[in-house]
Amino acid sequence: MALVATVLGLVVVTFSMVRLIPGNPVLAVAGLTSTRAERIALTKEMGLNHPYFVQFGHYVNNLLHWNLGTSFADGQPVSQQISQEIGSSLVLAGVSLALVLIVAIPLGLVVAALTQEGRHPRIDMIFTGATSLFGSIPQFLLATFLAFIFAIWLKILPVAGFSPPVSSIILPAVSIALAPVAILSRLVRIETLNVLTQDYIRTARGKRLPTRIIYLRHVLPNVLTAALTLGGVIFAYIIAGAVIIENVFNRPGLGTGLIGAVQQNNYPVIQGIILVLGLIVVAVNVVVDLAVGFLDPRSLNRPNSGAAR
């Protein structure tokens, strides 16, 4: 299945990373001043003296035993570092995601209901303008602006670290969530408008059903399936955002871990974190696919009885 292929691809790519680095990795790690003996020892230690496939085999074997290597910086097992950092990253991502869903979907629905068929063109303009604007502001910029306004100028929210736990997550979460909210609410609106023009909504209106029932029973299910297909993309966006925002707001997590590792050429850590992030993305996409399949009966591909071309 495609899933297996993806995971496999991910593993191969992260593994190959070390091979792809221009120049001699051993040299990069050991430094120019190392002696020959040191370099030989390091080569052995890094396993670079074996042929490619053997190394790959070792790598996969290690992975299956949850061994992601050892950090160059502090000698800690990578897996340990990751398990320390992953908690706060997941919390941040989770809060951001929740924020996105709770705000964007109802917002999109309401605006669509108001602006259907070309009504209230002014609301249309304001909404489109606002979402364009907020949707294109990069998260780290937004974080900067928000930090400036709320932490420095108004001094009502903390700007760094983890305490106090609730209020310190507000700025980071909002910075991450704002752009996806803009994009998702726009999508929800477009989808809702699309659904509203469908014949089956006309049928429902023809039955003179109360508005509430039309939106909740007839419109919403059709909109959700479309919104869900974007779910994977949104989550990817949130993860990328979390990586940056953690660095902006100084919240130690996978994000700070990754950037730190890159700056130090700490390959095992880089490999490990990228691999874990990749796996999370794949997992979320699988869940989204399943959810879509569950919600949209058509995608289950039941053969049509008597429906000919």
Partner: protein
């Protein structure tokens, strides 16, 4: 095309900004280099002042100068990254699209998987491999951006390749390369332009992010991202040193983004407007015409209330300078249990009449005139009474069975909700009614079908479900708008059977709307013929073979008849049906009418009773004067 682009207001602004940016990019480093890089320890971390408009940084360098000089790297690398994205994306996307059909889905799946990964992470990954610095960051961002372009490219090429006009080009022997260049690319080019513009905007942002994280350009080189990092370090003392580069990044990204969107809007207006634009002034159909009241057409008499009574119905769309009339002066009566056919071609307004009666007109359309259902004038009703009356007394069946039912809901709820809401019947009872109705419309295995979804049923079956749905509240009136047009002729016959059954069993009045004169002529008691928004003739079924109005006559003659000899050429009517916004003055049919006289071009003929029906034609009615004389 270029003119259209320039017309959108945001575009001009965006283009100006872009021009300024590009100018700065070229000029600034030449002029301001010294100010930007010269260290000056006597003026460190100053706020904005006369000498340094934006203040200075920790090493005393003028911030404004640094900002402007940084433009070159920020924009230049972004352009480069976008170029990489575009080339890689085109190769990848185009390559996948040209793969043999069996392997292609794998290729597409592959691209989809690539897109799933966050672009920034991919960029960081690639950058880490190549090494920190401008080169690594640019290549990283370029690669990350190429996936999306590949996706768009492959989708575009594939969708155009199956269009009929590409097939036509293929059978004209157009070679593959030429096919791609001359036939596919122009249709795809506008989307590519937008994608590239957005790509630039994204690249600017991503590169800045990379630099911000320390993975982009390294000191002593500097771009906006670097400036941002430096600025953040002295955020408290001199916030401007961080805000300035942040604003610069935001503005340039927005400018390119808006430019891209504006191009999209002007090249593909359907993407952005809900309504079709209607050009030109509304056709004034003559004030005299609107003053002529159409008389009530005598109908087969009925003591009871007619199921439907329409008087002086007209529907308009507001427009500048004057509203556009879609239908005008529509009056007719449908007795209980009667079947009325409404026949017309495109632009005749027959569907609008159906929508007006069932009160489902699209938004800006306004209705004038009176509609009475089961004797009650709907304009006099309160909102609740209105919903109650229409919900129970009027049922509709539309043309496209494939889309009239909600694909996300099971059939049982779609059938029962009408009765539940308006007649306050419990779910159980409603279900039983629904099953009974399904049986009545001859849907096989009715009980099992309740739990199914619409897509599991064929077109004919769905139409039956629609009719069963209508039957739930035993309405007095059923409006069927082209109910069989999308169905095969043998299925059509079955559906018409059901309609006739319902009509006779339940004494339900039916208004059958169709472009098919034969269908209407065989099944209906009376027929209305519409042209360009007006009723031009009304006749009984028997009289249909001898119509009086020249349009009806021509319509009759244009139909190929299976029992007539094919040696007789079909009557063809020159010209075409007039556009809504451009209807001829006087009688709308006059440019195509073989019998037209002077009067027809200036005055709209009134609908006058003739022979148990009615005709709106100066020439045909002139004979009437002679008849009655």
């Amino acid at each position: 095309m270029i003119r259209a682009i320039l017309k959108a207001p945001g575009t001009i602004f965006a283009l100006i900004v872009i021009a300024v940016l590009v100018g700065t990019m070229i000029v600034a480093p030449i002029v301001l280099n010294k100010d930007a890089t010269g260290l000056n320890f006597s003026a460190t971390s100053e706020g904005p002042n006369a000498m340094h408009w934006l203040g200075t940084d920790a090493l005393g360098r003028d911030l404004l100068a640094r900002l402007l000089v940084a433009t070159r790297l920020s924009l230049g690398l972004a352009f480069l990254a976008t170029l990489i994205s575009a080339v890689l994306g085109l190769l990848l996307g185009g390559g996948v699209a040209l793969l043999p059909a069996r392997i292609r889905p794998i290729g597409l799946r592959f691209i989809d998987t690539l897109i799933a990964f966050p672009a920034l992470i991919v960029a960081i990954f690639v950058g880490a491999i190549i090494g920190a610095g401008g080169k690594g960051a640019t290549i990283g961002v370029g690669v990350a951006g190429s996936f999306y372009i590949a996706r768009v490219m492959s989708a575009l090429v594939l969708s155009s390749a199956s269009r009929d006009y590409i097939l036509a080009a293929r059978i004209l022997g157009v070679r593959r390369m030429r096919l791609l260049l001359r036939n596919i690319l122009p249709n795809v080019a506008d989307v590519l332009v937008i994608v590239v513009a957005l790509g630039i905007a994204n690249s600017i942002v991503f590169l800045a992010a990379m630099s911000f994280l320390g993975l982009g350009v390294q000191s002593p080189q500097f771009d906006w991202g670097q400036l941002l990092t430096e600025g953040v370090q002295q955020f408290y003392q001199a916030p401007l040193s961080a805000l300035a580069p942040a604003i610069a990044i935001a503005i340039s990204a927005l400018a390119f983004g808006f430019a891209g969107e504006a191009v999209a809007k002007s090249l593909n207006p359907q993407l952005w407007t809900a309504m079709r634009s209607i050009k030109g002034p509304g056709a004034m159909l003559g004030t005299r015409a609107s003053k002529i009241l159409s008389q009530r057409i005598p109908t087969p008499s009925d003591e009871k209330e007619p199921a439907l009574e329409v008087s002086n119905l007209s529907v308009q769309i507001p427009n500048k300078p004057s509203p556009i009339d879609i239908v005008t002066d529509i009056s007719f009566v449908v007795a209980q249990g009667e079947m009325l056919g409404v026949v017309g071609e495109s632009g005749s307004g027959k569907t609008t009449v159906a929508n007006a009666i069932s009160q489902l007109l699209p938004y800006p359309a306004k209705m004038n005139g009176t509609v009475k259902i089961s004797g009650r004038d709907i304009s006099t009703l309160t909102k609740d009474e209105f919903n109650q009356l229409l919900g129970t007394n009027v049922a509709t069946v539309f043309q496209d069975p494939m889309s009239s039912l909600n694909p996300a809901l099971r059939l049982d709820i779609q059938l029962t909700e009408r009765a539940e809401v308006h007649q306050h019947i419990g779910r159980r009872q409603a279900r039983e009614m629904a099953i009974a109705n399904l049986k009545e419309v001859n849907l096989p295995a009715a009980e099992g079908q309740m739990r199914r979804y619409p897509h599991e049923l064929s077109g004919g079956m769905r139409q039956r479900v629609m009719m069963a749905m209508g039957l739930m509240t035993r309405p007095a009136l059923l409006i069927a708008d082209e109910p069989t047009t999308a169905l095969d002729v043998t299925i059509q016959a079955q559906i018409m059977d059901v309609l006739k059954e319902i009509n006779q069993q339940h004494k339900m009045a039916i208004v059958l709307i169709s472009h098919n004169l034969d269908l209407v002529g065989q099944n209906c008691d009376r027929i209305l013929v519409m042209y360009a928004g007006r009723i031009v003739e009304e006749l009984s079924r028997e009289a249909l073979s001898q119509p009086l109005h020249p349009y009806t006559q021509a319509l009759l003659g244009a139909l190929p008849d299976i029992s007539e000899s094919p040696d007789q050429p079909l009557v063809s009517i020159g010209g075409q049906v007039p556009d809504i916004s451009n209807r001829p003055s006087g009688c709308a049919f006059h440019p195509r009418c073989p019998m037209a006289v002077e009067r027809c071009t200036t005055e709209v003929p009134p609908l006058l009773p003739r022979r148990g029906g009615a005709v709106a034609c100066w020439v045909a009615n002139k004979d009437a004067d002679n008849e009655s004389a």
